[in-house]
Each structure stands twice: as structure tokens, then as C-alpha cells.
Symmetry: C2
Subunit: 510 residues, 2 copies
Amino acid sequence: MDAKEFREFGKAAIDYIADYLENIRDDDVLPNVEPGYLLDLLPTEMPEEPEAWKDVLGDISRVIKPGLTHWQSPHMHAYYPTSTSYPSIVGEMLASGFGVIGFSWICSPACTELEVVVMDWLAKFLKLPAHFQHASDGPGGGVIQGSASEAVLVAVLAAREQAVANYRESHPELSESEVRGRLVAYSSDQSNSCIEKAGVLAAMPIRLLPAGEDFVLRGDTLRGAIEEDVAAGRIPVICVATLGTTGTCAYDDIESLSAVCEEFKVWLHVDAAYAGGAFALEECSDLRKGLDRVDSLNFNLHKFMLVNFDCSAMWLRDANKVVDSFNVDRIYLKHKHEGQSQIPDFRHWQIPLGRRFRALKVWITFRTLGAEGLRNHVRKHIELAKQFEQLVLKDSRFELVAPRALGLVCFRPKGDNEITTQLLQRLMDRKKIYMVKAEHAGRQFLRFVVCGMDTKASDIDFAWQEIESQLTDLQAEQSLVARKSGNVGDLAQHFQIHLSTENATHEKSQ
Amino acid sequence: MDAKEFREFGKAAIDYIADYLENIRDDDVLPNVEPGYLLDLLPTEMPEEPEAWKDVLGDISRVIKPGLTHWQSPHMHAYYPTSTSYPSIVGEMLASGFGVIGFSWICSPACTELEVVVMDWLAKFLKLPAHFQHASDGPGGGVIQGSASEAVLVAVLAAREQAVANYRESHPELSESEVRGRLVAYSSDQSNSCIEKAGVLAAMPIRLLPAGEDFVLRGDTLRGAIEEDVAAGRIPVICVATLGTTGTCAYDDIESLSAVCEEFKVWLHVDAAYAGGAFALEECSDLRKGLDRVDSLNFNLHKFMLVNFDCSAMWLRDANKVVDSFNVDRIYLKHKHEGQSQIPDFRHWQIPLGRRFRALKVWITFRTLGAEGLRNHVRKHIELAKQFEQLVLKDSRFELVAPRALGLVCFRPKGDNEITTQLLQRLMDRKKIYMVKAEHAGRQFLRFVVCGMDTKASDIDFAWQEIESQLTDLQAEQSLVARKSGNVGDLAQHFQIHLSTENATHEKSQ
């Protein structure tokens, strides 16, 4: 493919993307395919000769698009948002066009330095403590990791190596493997699976401590666990707290946790993958309490900052603790400016050696949307979630499971878990909206998350209409079956509602 | 930014990339900036209001491009190639436009299934043993990781967990931490830094065994180390062999290594990040010897397959060994088709939870270039390296350090290390071509790698002209200094050349 063909193909693809995103409501958010659908459609070997790009673009419509779950659809309400935006798409494309790798400054000075710039921009925008900025005098700074999983793993591994070094210094009688065998870390039973996985990868047990009934992990619980472990001769290493848990967007109590971590010299990392976006809002300033006392934190730009995945910001209070843990340099990686300036070689701040020019899409997105545009995007998600919350509250067949938090509403149809499962299955089968369920203390519930690049109030109404009408239909069907078999009493318990003898109705507030 | 603006911005960016790549020879490969240049040019806070995309694109020319090291330039000869191509750029853009995440099948069936398809296409194209294909009956298959570092780390961590589980079963008297404290892994002292780093991250010592004088690690050396470790009560876990080392593109002897690994039940991983591209060529079939006996291997598509970074293929003979090691599922990740089909949930095959739709750019690149186009690309790099090798051999001031291997020529000006350093420094200061040096047994040398999307014979001549003329100038300068101070004898030793009394000349074959 030569440059002339690229100009044609690329511009056709730009139009393809614009058409796709402008008309994204036309498709069901969930695809109508069965496992293996694509394996049946495609040849089992790559073509020997080149094929025309028009045929390939045609096949994207024919075989790829029907198998997509449309994450950018306003009818996506599962997980948390994974955003994209028009400027970010262009930024990603430009980065792949330049095709540079940024493992050291000389590899592409702009790649490293723009990352320093945008991470400081973001730190200020989110009103983080000043010591997290590269521009500060201290050893702190920010770096773009691929995902929250990687950011958490970097923190866990660096904390582990620091703990081993420190403990061996104070306990020279112990061998390294004896020290490693005693390490222990902490998180909440509400934290994301990637934190437990980080423990597995780090070969260090992570105790998932019980959150309170409000889903919040507090210092008292952590203190109890640490004291127990210290008494048993174990070595506490790190606590990974969460601001905005995956289940219910609960906020761990950073202030009380940080007090305990300081007392026991335990690294405190905060996973703010989702909720970090709200740090920028004055009305959410409570969320930032205690951040001046944490060692590291991460926030996904692909969740709330309209930058496409992958783009996970991570800040370190003392980056040397990571660099010292991971540095394994070779002569071919050295360059003459190394160590002479404040410019970091980011390869030492992350797991892999190679790294894309991700700062470019961040910079382009921030500049073309502006700080006000980014804040408005977060506020819009919050407002839309409030709208949904009100719809839930007005329908007595449903209950909230946790307070609405940012763009997440956790709710369920009243009754046993089975009705939640059945309702979700109906919704999944119809494919109009996509939610997932979560569970706490044996009770299952639905998570309604505001997602999408350009979600509107009418989209929330659409989702609610879909949910409540499907519950109505489900009740009607089960009522019919129950009346036929004479089990109306069981059914009433199942739905926890009043059933008329004529029909399964519901007490719906107006 | 609305869709209309995106169409304009995106198409302007397409033209920008095409212009950049078509005219890439106009710029020096190395940028003319000092550390901190960009920090001085950009504001310290993001703009409050949106800025026009035209201003941003203008700034890319003004402040970003001058700070790029041009990895796609045919005058890039450092590290190994990190390719891009026109179809791959479009593929990356389409993936960011769709903005899907592929951590499970339901998250976007096309994302997972297309990866199964292209990984099998690639396995066949590279003539890998059939058991690495998803389509095979066994538990093998391929996955796209971000980088070779991640692929190696996945292998190291999975091997570690398998070893712990197996050893504890056969030695129930040992505690888990006692077992973990005895683990040991192996690689060559010629292997990439990411392998040593994997050992640090895995908290498992990786012994870097001495390669032979030909830079090759063989089974005998591994056997000696393993027997030593077993005798000392240690538990051998994994050997990471390399096909195409970073220093000299040496090929470890997979056949003898695999025999030892089988005997001692040690996982054998092959890092073929660069050389894997040559598996596709009949004339390089020797390279594939022994691959039927390895447990896992990785190959970077961004090195030889014209797919832009990040895109690192990894194959596993038994993927369950990774899945069983890493699986930490939550209810919100479950979906109804899970475990019912042969379609993998790739989140269990990798470090992070989230994953981009990287298979799309692979598929588009493979289809628009075809198998023959990909093979021709590898062959072209080999031919160009042969051309460079001949130029070195014809100039008696230079010597080869290792046999040319694929697109890499390792050479040096004869004499002490200082002259290699000085020559490289001159070349770096002039910025016309970019090489890095390496070292073996105290001897430093230069690595000349064929890189670039569309490198031609004239580009190789350009590089050689630059190198040999700079050595001429360096000799002339030093000769002048030496004659002034009367140290002509020292100089002759320094360059290991014959110096006339009149001038520093050289014996140059014609």
C-alpha cells in the first residue's frame, strides 16, 4: 500500500468512524452472534496476495461490526465507561503514524517530555497534592501506564522490593527468602479483581479485608489486620485502597487508612481508576481527603477524561522507589543525557521496556476539549445518573442497594436474587441495553453506569423504559405460570410485591 | 468536537501522516533538542477553553516533530526495527474509533475471535508446530501481548506458579514460602534486559549463564547450572532462550536446551522477538529447529510484520497453565457462554484485565499486504544488511564482530574501545544516522540494524558513506593532534592502522 492509497483508505476510515459513532444508537448495544461466529466466516489462512482495502473495509461492515459490543453506545451501562473521543482517535492515529518508542529520552524527546507536561497538567486539573508533579522539587511525578492493573502491579511490586530491602537492613539475621515468605498486603473485599491478581503475580498474599456494610474499608479494620500479622511475625507491605470500587463505587476512608499506614510504615496506594475524574470538581472535594498522605495513586483517563483506552495515569510521591526496584540497564539503553536532568526515563517506571507515544492523544484531547469541557463531561455523567436514580426511587418494585455515586446507580428489583438474574437475562437476550450484576453479602444487584461519548437524558429514559417494562413482562409471565399451577403465594414472595388475583401488577409511584 | 470537525481534523491528520512518511528522509533521524526543550515551549496548565484543532495540528509541526527521533526513517539503525505501515495505522485508528475492550468474549465477540483467527494465521505463516494453533485439538493457542517484556513475564510467572504447585505436591513437608525461596530460573548473559527484569518482578533469581564465544547458549551450559542448583536443593523453574539476541542476533541452541529442559521438567520459553519473522522463510528453516519442544514463545509483530507497536504475539503449548495461574474472577466478569466453547477469555492469558482490539490492525495489515508481501519485507531487510556487510568487509579499517544475522550487522572500527565510542559520538552529534553500541567480553561494537518502512539500497549507501567518512575525519583530527604532541605511535595503536608520516590515511580496499 503506497501513500496515495493510504490517503484514500485513511479518509474512508475517518468517514467510517464518524458514521459509526453518529449512528451508534441504530444498533443494539449487544451483538447478535454465538461463540465461534467469526471463525466460521473467515478463511483459515492469510491471503497469499494483497487484497484491496475497499474489500477489507467492506468486510469490517460485514463480519466485524456485527460482532462488536458497542462500548461507545449510550445504551452501554456495564462495567465502567471506557471512553473515546474524536480528538483522542486522531491522537492515537498520529502516534501510530509517527511510530516512535519512548523507553528513554533520546528515543524521542517529545514522547517523554510531553508525558511530563500532560501528567503535570492533569495533576493540577485534578487538584492533586503538589508533590505529585514533576515540576515539584521532590522525587514525585506522574507516568502513563496501560491500565489500572499495571499501575496497581507496579505499586505492589515496588512496595514489595522496598519492604524486603528495608526489613533486611533492620534484620540482617534473616535470609532474603525468609523475609519474602513473611510479606503480606491488604485491600478490601470490594476492590477490583486486578488487585487480587497483583498479589498472585507478586507472589505475596493480599488479604481482602471486609468492608463495612456501606462497602467502605476503614483504618480500624486495617489496623486489626496489621496488628494480627505483626504479632504473627509477618511483614506488612502495602495497602491498596479504592476510591470508587467496581461493585458500588464506594470510597475507602483514605484518611484513617493513611494514619495506620504511616504508623506501620506500610505503602498506601489508591486505585481511583473511575472516581479520580471527580477530583476535578469543587463539589466533590471531599473525595480528595487524605491524598496528601498516600504514596501512589492511579486514575484511568479512558474512564472519565475522554481519552481512548489504554491510558492509565499513575502518580508516585517518590518515583525513585520504583526506579530503584526495576532498573536493569544495558549499554544499548544508555544515552549521554541520562541522569543529567530532571527528565525521567520512563522505562524504569513501568513493567515493559517499550512504550507508545500515548501522551499525544492526551495532549490533543485536553487542548481541543479544554478543562471546562472535561469537567462538564464528568458533571453530565453525574446528572444523568441522578436522573436514573430518581426513576428507580419512583418505582416501588425496585430498591437502591447503595447510594448513587458519580455515574453509577446500584439497584435491584425487590425480592430474591432469582428475579435479578431473570430480569438481567431478559435484558441481555433483548440486547437493547447492557448492564452487569454484582453481589454483596449474598445479595445480587444490577449496576447501571452512565457510559458513552455523548449520552443524553433521552437515553436514560430509554434504558429505564426497557428495564421497567421487562420487569412488568417478567411478572406477567410468572404470574400466568403461577396461577396455572396455583403457586401465587410463592410468586408474591419471589417478587416481594402485592399480586392482584387478576394480573401481576405493581405498585408504581407516579 | 463534533463529527463534522472530526472528519476535517481526521483527514488533515491522514494527509499529515502521509506527508510525514513520504518525506521522512528530509529530516535528520535524531532531533536537535536538549533535555527540557518542550517543557520550555508549552504552558504549565491545560487550557480552560477548547482550542481549535488547526492550532493543535500546527503545534505538532512546531513543537512535537522537532523533538521526535524518527523511528520510521530509513536512517534509523538503532535497537531493532519498530515498524508501522499504512494499513496498520488505519487499523489502529479504527480500533480506537470502535473503542471496545476485549477482556471476555461477550465484551466484544469480534475482538476475541479475530485474535484467535489472526494468531492461527500467523502460526501457520511462521510454520510453527501445529499444537500452537487454537484450531488444534490440544490446549495450545496464541494471544497478543503488548510487548516482549510482558510475554516473557507471563511465561516466567506461569512457570513459577506451576513449579510451586508441582513441587508442593511432591514435597508436602515444605511450606509454600520454603518452596518459593528455592526457585531459580535461567537465561543467557546475551538476553534482553526484560528477562532480568522479569526475574526481579517475579522475585525469582534468573541466572544469566555465559553464552559461548559465538554468543550462543547451549544445553551443556544449562545442564551444568541446573545440576549445580539441584544439588544445592534449589528448584529449577524456567529457561528463557533467545532466537535473535539484542546484542548480536545470536540464536540459542533450542534443540540442546529443550533436551535438558525436558529431562529436568523445566519450562522452556523462547524469546524470538526479532528473529521470529524469519521463521516464515524457507531459507531460514534452521531457525525453527526444536520449536516443537518449547512450552511458549513470543514474536513481535511490530518488529518484522509491519504492524505498529504495541503488538507482541505469544504462543503457549498449554494455555491452561497460564489461565490456572492467573484466574481471579468476579461475578461482574462472568457471562453465559463462559467455558462452553473453545473461545478463550484472553484476560486470563495476560497481566492486565483490559485489552485493546489489536487484532484489527493485524488483520488489516495481513490482508492488504498478503503473505508474499510480508515475506518480501523480511527478505528485503536481510538483503540490505548483506549489502552493508559487504561495505564493512571491503574497508580494512573495520572488522565484523559477529556474523551478519538477518537485518543486523555488528562491526567496529579496529582498535581500542575509545575509537568506537568516539566514532559513535560523532555520528550522534551529526544526527544523520542513529546506531547504538553493545559490548561483549569487554569489547564494544556498533550495531547496524536495517529499520524503516521502506528502506532502499541507496539508504544503506548513505549510512555507510556517513560512517566511513566520519572515521576518516576522526583519524585526520587525531592524527593532527598526535603529530603536534609527537604521539604518533600511540595513535597507531589506538586505530590499529598504518599511519603515514604525512597524514592519517587508511588501507581501504576498493
